[in-house]
Subunit: 134 residues, 2 copies
DNA sequence: AATGCCGTTGACGTTAACGTCAATTTTTGG
DNA sequence: CCAAAAATTGACGTTAACGTCAACGGCATT
């Protein structure tokens, strides 16, 4: 419990994750982040940092910010009643389903790319080009 | 070689893949599809259909249309010289790298969702709710 | 001949996810 | 203490990926 007390300015966090401060403010505007304030300035803690990581992962997977927010909200469980929990469970299962579909898509795409890749290598080989294409 | 000779009107193809005709025209405008013409009307063959499948898969994976086009172009190999082939190989490897990263992201996300999922099930169990949440 | 039903090409509208100023504090090093 | 660097809040611009609407041209049926 020492590293966890680290805080970040908006620019520090932005630089670390290769985004702009504008992006972080935008995410806050969209209710994806809720950093504390020191006067006017935003001050991010390790939890905000972890949330940002999740957001960016969702972004890399092609989800919209709204979808990402819904996924993040899934982690705030246990505060509602039974019906709330059931709802969360349903949404969570739906997310899992789409992610599994994406995984299947990825594996299909990878297989095809690797195949084409091999064809090219054979072509280059026929033309007398060695495996110096690293 | 009989099914391969099937052709489709724009609306047929659109319906089959749950997109609008507008989308198919848009993809053509962006040089992702090149259907033949019968007079003015577009006429799609099995190859166009396969390309569309690849396009939509790329879309599900969150790639931009430009990126998708580049990926599709990777399949038109063998028509260039050695340098071209090398270039294609490099791009192909880059694609593979980002796809593998996506796959890693997906597996991390899946693990976390499944974990939260189990927590919810436990909570529901404690509250006396059975496994009727299918 | 008129009524629909595709199909076409523009042209313009829309939403998401920021970028880009501008004007104004706030914070910080010397 | 003061200038420079960094932070803030608007406001407007931009790009991608289509949607929507208008105006038009074949045909096929009624």
């Amino acid at each position: 419990m020492d590293m966890e007390s680290r805080t970040y300015t908006i620019r520090q966090l932005a630089r670390e994750f290769a985004v702009t401060p504008r992006t972080l403010r935008f995410y806050e505007d969209k209710d994806l982040l809720h950093p504390a304030r020191q006067g006017q300035s935003r001050i991010y803690n390790y939890r905000d940092r972890a949330r940002l990581q999740l957001i960016l992962r969702g972004r890399r997977l092609g989800f919209s910010l709204i979808e990402i927010k819904e996924m993040l909200d899934l982690y705030n469980l246990g505060d509602g009643g039974v019906e709330q929990l059931k709802m969360t469970l349903r949404k969570s299962k739906a997310r899992i389903a789409t992610l599994e579909r994406q995984r299947a898509d990825i594996e299909a795409a990878l297989a095809e790319l690797r195949e084409g890749n091999n064809q090219i290598k054979r072509l280059l080989d026929e033309k007398g080009v060695g495996a110096d294409a690293l």
